[in-house]
C-alpha cells in the first residue's frame, strides 16, 4: 500500500515497503516557474528529516529541497540531469527527485495528508 505525505516546504513523499519517493508538488513547480537545473543527492547519502538534500533551480532562483524524513538515499532520478523541465511537466509522477530507505517511519506522522496539504497550499495562495 502506498502512503503519500506532504511537507510545509512543498515536498511530497510516497512510501511503499519502507522506501520513500520524494519530489516537489505541482503547486511548488508552478510557484518556481521554469526549472533549468536539479542538483541531485548522491546514492548512499544519509539525511535527517528537514535537512537540505537537493536543489531545484528555476530561471529566477535556486530553491533547497528538504528531506521529508530521515533515511539513506537509495536511488536518484538521473533523467533530471538532461531534462530538468520534467519537474514542470510531471512533478508528482515522472519527475521524482530521489528515493530513500526510511530510518524512522514514525516521522511520517508529522507530515500532512493530501487534503491537509491542499488546504495549506491553497491558503498560502
Amino acid at each position: 500500500m502506498t502512503l503519500i505525505r506532504y511537507t510545509e516546504d512543498h515536498e511530497y513523499i510516497s512510501v511503499e515497503d519502507g522506501v520513500g519517493t520524494v519530489g516537489i508538488t505541482d503547486y511548488a513547480q508552478g510557484k518556481l516557474g521554469d526549472v533549468t537545473f536539479v542538483e541531485l543527492p548522491k546514492v548512499g547519502e544519509k539525511v535527517k528529516q528537514g535537512q537540505p538534500i537537493a536543489v531545484v533551480e528555476s530561471v529566477k532562483a535556486a530553491s533547497d529541497i528538504y528531506s521529508p524524513v530521515s533515511g539513506e538515499v537509495v536511488e536518484i532520478n538521473e533523467a533530471l540531469n538532461d531534462k530538468p523541465e520534467l519537474i514542470n511537466q510531471e512533478p508528482e509522477t515522472g519527475a521524482w527527485i530521489y528515493r530513500l530507505a526510511l530510518s524512522n517511519a514514525g516521522e511520517l506522522d508529522k507530515l500532512m495528508d493530501r487534503d491537509a496539504y491542499l488546504a495549506y497550499a491553497g491558503a498560502e495562495g
Binding site: G33, D34, F37, V55, S63
Partner: protein, 384 residues
C-alpha cells in the same frame, strides 16, 4: 522547498506605482512583482522560457513604462548638445536628426550614475531621453542641476513606453504605421497612431530587431491591444527581458554597474567616440581617459559555465589555481544559448575569451570560461 532569500525588502515600502497598462496586465494573467517602485509583470501564463523563445522567433510586446522619459530643450541643438556633453561621455553634438545614442551619466569619480538612450529629435533642437526606472529621480535631479539657464529638462510623466521586439516586429508595426519599417537601427521618428503623437525608436534591449514606442498614457492601452491583436505578438514579462538582455551581452544598471563602476570597467568603451576620448570635457573624464590609456583595474566579461547550474549575483569568480578574481553580477541558464551564462568582473589579465575560470556555486567551484559577448548574435537591422 524554499526559494533563496529575496534581494528586495518589501516591508515598509511605499505603495507600488502602476503603469497605464496595469489593468491589461491583470487581464492577460500576468504574475506581478514589485520592481523599481512599480508593480510590473515578471511573466505571463506561458512562463519565462516560452516568452523568451517567442521573442527570438516571432515578436514580443513589453511594457517598459516604468522607465523615465524626458526632453532637454534649449535655444538650438548646439547649445543643448554642448550642455548635455558636460554630463555624458557620448558624442551628442555629432547626432544627426532622429539618431539615437547610448551613453552614461557619470559622477565626479567617473562612476556610472545611470545609462541611457539620447535621441536628437527630428525637428533638430531637442534631445529625448530614456533612463532606468530605478534611477529616474536621481538622474533628473543631476541633469537639471548641471544645465545652464537657457537649457531645460522636462520629465515626460504622462507617457507610456512599450517595446516590440523580435524578427516579426517590423512586419507587425508596419501594418499600423508603415513609416516605422523605414527606420534604421538606432534612429527614431515622431509618428501618428490613430491621432496620437507617438515617438518610435528602432532600438531595444533583447539583441533582436525591434522598436521602443513612447505613447501618450491615455492611448497606451488601445495601442498595446492593437499590437497584441496580431497573431505574431505575445506579451512578455521582465523575467524574459532579463534572460534576453543577458544573452545579448547588455548590462543592467544596479546589477552589472553602479556608481563605483566606470564605463571602461563595464566594457562600454564602444559608446565613447574618438573626439570625446581625446578632448574629455565631461564630468568624470579624468578616470575614463586614464583607464582608456592604462587599462581599468577590473573589467566586465561574459562567462559560460560548463554545467547547467546558474551563476548568480555576488557569487565568487576564481582562477584555475583558486585565486579570487572577482564576482558575478548577472547570470542565468538561458533558453537560446541553452547554457548557463553570466557577466562578472575580473582583472584585465584574466579577461581574454577562452580563459578558464571557476564560479563558486553553493560551496563548490564550477568550471567556466570567459566568453565573447554577445552570447547570442545580435540581429539588428542596420539599414531598413
Amino acid at each position: 522547498m524554499s526559494a533563496a532569500p529575496a534581494t528586495t525588502d518589501h516591508e515598509a515600502a511605499p505603495p507600488l506605482r502602476q503603469t497605464p497598462l496595469a489593468a491589461l496586465h491583470r487581464e492577460l494573467g500576468a504574475k506581478l512583482v514589485p520592481f523599481a517602485g512599480y508593480e510590473m509583470p515578471v511573466s505571463y501564463a506561458t512562463g519565462i522560457v516560452k516568452e523568451h523563445t517567442h521573442v527570438r522567433e516571432r515578436a514580443g510586446f513589453f511594457d517598459v513604462s516604468h522607465m523615465g522619459q524626458a526632453r532637454i530643450t534649449g535655444p538650438d541643438f548646439e547649445t543643448v548638445a554642448a550642455a548635455f556633453e558636460r554630463l555624458v561621455p557620448g558624442d551628442i553634438a555629432g547626432l544627426k536628426c532622429g539618431q539615437i545614442r547610448y551613453t552614461q551619466l557619470l559622477n565626479d569619480e567617473g562612476g556610472i550614475i545611470d545609462d541611457l538612450m539620447a535621441t536628437r529629435e527630428a525637428d533638430g533642437t531637442g534631445l529625448f531621453l530614456v533612463v532606468n526606472a530605478s534611477r529616474k529621480e536621481v538622474d533628473f535631479a543631476h541633469i537639471a542641476a548641471h544645465l545652464p539657464p537657457t537649457v531645460t529638462l522636462a520629465p515626460l510623466a504622462n507617457r507610456a513606453l512599450v517595446a516590440l521586439q523580435g524578427p516579426d516586429a517590423a512586419r507587425v508595426l508596419a501594418r499600423q504605421m508603415p513609416e516605422a519599417a523605414g527606420l534604421a537601427f538606432m534612429t527614431a521618428a515622431p509618428l501618428d497612431w490613430r491621432g496620437a503623437a507617438v515617438f518610435v525608436s528602432r532600438s531595444g534591449y533583447t539583441g533582436e530587431d525591434g522598436f521602443e514606442i513612447s505613447v501618450p498614457a491615455d492611448a497606451a492601452e488601445a495601442f498595446a491591444r492593437s499590437l497584441l491583436a496580431h497573431p505574431e505578438v505575445e506579451a512578455i514579462g521582465l523575467g524574459a527581458r532579463d534572460t534576453l538582455r543577458l544573452e545579448a551581452g547588455l548590462p543592467l544598471y544596479g546589477q552589472d554597474m553602479d556608481e563605483t563602476t566606470s564605463p571602461i570597467e563595464a566594457a562600454l568603451d564602444f559608446s565613447i567616440g574618438k573626439r570625446r576620448r581625446r578632448d574629455g570635457g565631461f564630468i568624470g573624464a579624468e578616470r575614463v581617459q586614464r583607464e582608456l590609456a592604462d587599462g581599468p583595474a577590473r573589467v566586465r566579461v561574459g562567462l559560460r559555465l560548463e554545467g547547467r547550474s546558474a551563476a548568480r549575483t555576488h557569487m565568487k569568480i576564481a582562477s584555475e589555481t583558486g585565486e579570487t578574481l572577482g564576482e558575478i553580477t548577472s547570470g542565468a541558464y538561458t533558453p537560446t544559448a541553452a547554457a548557463s551564462v553570466a557577466f562578472g568582473y575580473v582583472p584585465p589579465r584574466s579577461s581574454a575569451p577562452g580563459t578558464p575560470v571557476a564560479v563558486e556555486i553553493r560551496g563548490a567551484f564550477q568550471p567556466a570560461r570567459v566568453a565573447s559577448l554577445p552570447f547570442v548574435p545580435h540581429r539588428y537591422v542596420r539599414k531598413a
